[in-house]
Symmetry: C2
Subunit: 413 residues, 2 copies
Amino acid sequence: MKHVISAVCVRCGAEHEAVPNVTTCPKCGGILDIKYDYSYIKKQLTKEQLTQRKEYSMWRYREFLPVAEEGNYPKLRVGWSPLYKADRLAEKIGIKTLYIKDDGINPTASMKDRASAMAVAKAYEAGADTIACSSTGNAASSLAGNAAAAGYKTFIFVPERAPKGKVSQLMIFGATVISVQGTYEDTFRLSAEAIDRWGWYNRNAAINPYLMEGKKTVSLEIAEQLDFQMPDYVAISVGDGCSIAGVWKGLKDLYEAGFIDRLPKLISVQASGCYPINRAARTNTPLEPMEENTIADSIAVGVPRNPDKAISAILESNGVTVEVSDEEILAAMRLLGRTCGVFGEPAGVTGTAGVKKAVELGLIPKDSSVVSIVTGNGLKDVNNAIKAAGEPIHIPPQMDLLLEAFAKSGGPQ
Amino acid sequence: MKHVISAVCVRCGAEHEAVPNVTTCPKCGGILDIKYDYSYIKKQLTKEQLTQRKEYSMWRYREFLPVAEEGNYPKLRVGWSPLYKADRLAEKIGIKTLYIKDDGINPTASMKDRASAMAVAKAYEAGADTIACSSTGNAASSLAGNAAAAGYKTFIFVPERAPKGKVSQLMIFGATVISVQGTYEDTFRLSAEAIDRWGWYNRNAAINPYLMEGKKTVSLEIAEQLDFQMPDYVAISVGDGCSIAGVWKGLKDLYEAGFIDRLPKLISVQASGCYPINRAARTNTPLEPMEENTIADSIAVGVPRNPDKAISAILESNGVTVEVSDEEILAAMRLLGRTCGVFGEPAGVTGTAGVKKAVELGLIPKDSSVVSIVTGNGLKDVNNAIKAAGEPIHIPPQMDLLLEAFAKSGGPQ
């Protein structure tokens, strides 16, 4: 892989060889970042060549990814999610130009598929036959699905509070699921011990630097779908910090390779019940843990695993931080559904809720252009959809009663 | 629209003008079928031109669709779902070649999006601003989503037994949902009266002949994705009969236009608790209603609305009919998840369960090639996924207990 130089520690700066199973910095324990040779990449791929490709998945960007050119790519079709111009939503929010990137249409219905597909590709390079992680959410289901499609075994550790529906997804994909009677911390520790003992490939986002490289493909797609005319802002919900860091990495890659000539600013959106990354970025203070008090479970992360890269990304981009309440998240679910036909889970629509809030607070100018990434499908969390959705009209099957109900609700007569 | 000749009654053969809001035959009440001028289509589009297109959605086939060339296509990106070569599943089933077409990745997570997108396109041509239907399932959610994205109002009539989760999807998409305290028949009648009264555009699959034209795009895609080398069989689950009829229409279109040189046979799969279409096709007797006794709710249709076209399709293709039990459906959910990373709802995987059964029963030769369409995403029905999935390993966070559990379950040591 001539285009990959090394894996650099974001904390101490030490450079390490980017072997397939590289984890955190052996010197200081910091998280690593994959470093590329952009002048080499430039020679390998032009914008024109890229746009002629017929591979419509995240692997169309292989020159920007830490995989061999003729790699054994996983089987599920991850990526190339639609980017919708959302004029009616833009009008409602009061912003000039808005695009919605619906990443909930990925194979296991979240943006995490991009990271998990990368994990599977690297597990192949590492010669592993088994991949493991501890998680209760989209990371787990995307790993289980992508690994199953490629023929890998998975061991997934979940705390016993994990919702049955999510566990059923894992079981359907044939993961060996260990439900740990304890806290998430207990679960993580047991998983770490097991990974160590059996030498499984480690898919934990704060440990494995390749996962972010998968996630960054969302930015590469946004750029190509906009014909490389970048928006003023890219908004995304933030939990453990890996996704926003991935978004920024993708944007910087494109800039370094000369594919785009300006970098958007990031809008980092967290729940007002849990915003440790935003607080640290805004006040320029070290990260302090917070309580996890929000319905948006995928971003309810009081002790984020990747704050360094996330905070750097927000600051480097000269970005905006904004928090939204659970009510604003539920309202965004309705808004996206009603104006765009896009059904997101609470954490999935939090970015869009943040765009609305940022306009209201005057944090971004009304004549801005914004891309808002919806990170997960609403079918993953039907209970909260019910909370957001409201009640239908209940009547016996009689036209006179329908007319009466319509009269009350402002329907047709 | 020079390529559309008329709307022909499948019962009495009368030809009618294919206006955008055409419904059933005014002469006999039979369902209509859109008739094309294939020699005109051939002149407009070659295989080579088609494969160069960059529009990766169902609208890439516009020459084969009853829409104006420069039509106002709906906004959601429907279609161009992945076709996976499923070697490990083929081996488990004992068949030479198997492909899985995962239509559950559509915007509202089912194949019905193809029909609803077409309904929205035709509503536009009809000058309507409101679309209505009665349904509890995927037809309703796909209509609500596709209509919302395009800015149309929807009125959707559901019987009060409709599951809350599905109703919440409709409400999120902003449909006016009328929950009718009565049977499905009561609900349908009230919807018909309302559609009549207010002149809404009618999206009921047994009434509106255009919906099948949307569904047929799944076959056009399968053909193109296989480089127009057709398989021996195409398998699909059958409920009201519209989907299998659509699949057959698409195949015949391609054959008539010279894009493919042979027609696959259909494998029509129903639940053993409800198979009125298969029974009628197999015994060549008029359709008789049946009880609706299966977990696969989307195909639990005792009185199918489109039996004529479905039965013709099965017979014309010299097809195979097969029924599967609920246990076989749940087993197919696990099989697809574990070998392909594809998570289907019960009705979604029924086609694949049928392929397995057909091999077991010797209804199709083991050296056949088969495409099996998965029609809907498993996240739509988490309760049945839990039934199918099995239980995880439950332990306290201790390595010795993990080892003990693995020893029992045949895990690593």
